[in-house]
Subunit: 137 residues, 2 copies
DNA sequence: CTCCAACCTGGAGCGCACTCCAGGTCAAGC
DNA sequence: GCTTGACCTGGAGTGCGCTCCAGGTTGGAG
């Protein structure tokens, strides 16, 4: 039910072995268990953390902030409000990010449409300026 | 109608002066006009390019690819198909990016809801595991 | 018991996209 | 004509998030 070798944890989380070690080194993952010989053993709990880190990372949270969150969680229940705050704040920024991405995507699509409306490679000159820099540039 | 000082171009494009110079240095912007004394004068055309670069950058296109695009555009009309291809390819990746972002955002929202459902700081123990690592972590 | 693939550590290196700096030049207002 | 703030150049430095490396250890299969 739990106890994954490093390679297995890497496979399941989608992070590289180096990244897993790195995350532990900088204090994102703390207290990862070890065998008598010193090799890491990841628990389901660790895997859960990794899923969260992936979510936060994919949505653009800087590592420093993830660290802060992990810190707070380790400090105990009295940090619940601050953790909620932190996630909420991040969510707001993600929403902005999504809006920007959508806007620029629309922009990009328009630009592509401009190219698609262009007649096939005809050496003619002078169509009305499309979207973007100068004619067809 | 055209001819902007560097600071004005920076203001309008939202890029820093250093970034404008950098973009020129690496060949994103080419042939920026100069005064007799050597100071840059940006045209509306340059501004148009900058708008495009902002769009591409905001959607995560690496600079190397933007350079390639700018290159092609400078080579002339016979590269139109390749440019369209390049933008189209990028658009596909942006779509993936948007889907991922949406998925992880939903994930994040669920996590936040978990915190919101948490009763106020009550020292009780043992609620069913929420989303993410262990209980409330 | 032996082998070898997987693992360990500390630390250096990398790729990206800027950003900053020193030391000098330009040009618009007084 | 002098001042001063905006601008110039080449090149070094920064911050982020890994990624790679050397040299050594571990542990399950045969």
């Amino acid at each position: 039910m739990s106890g994954y070798a490093p390679s297995e944890a890497a496979r399941r989380s989608g992070f590289s072995l180096d990244t897993l070690r790195y995350y532990e080194k900088i204090g994102l993952l703390a207290d990862v268990e070890r065998t008598a010989g010193g090799q890491r053993v990841f628990t389901d709990d660790d895997l859960g953390w990794l899923v969260l880190f992936r979510c936060l990372r994919d949505t653009g949270m800087p590592i420093a902030q993830m660290r802060r969150y992990a810190q707070l969680a380790r400090e105990g229940e009295h940090t619940v409000a601050e953790r909620r705050e932190l996630l909420h704040h991040h969510a707001v920024r993600v929403e902005e990010q999504m809006r920007l991405l959508q806007r620029q995507y629309d922009h990009l699509r328009e630009k592509i449409r401009f190219y698609e409306r262009l007649p096939a490679p005809v050496p003619a000159a002078g169509q009305p300026a499309g979207i973007g820099p100068a004619v067809s540039r």
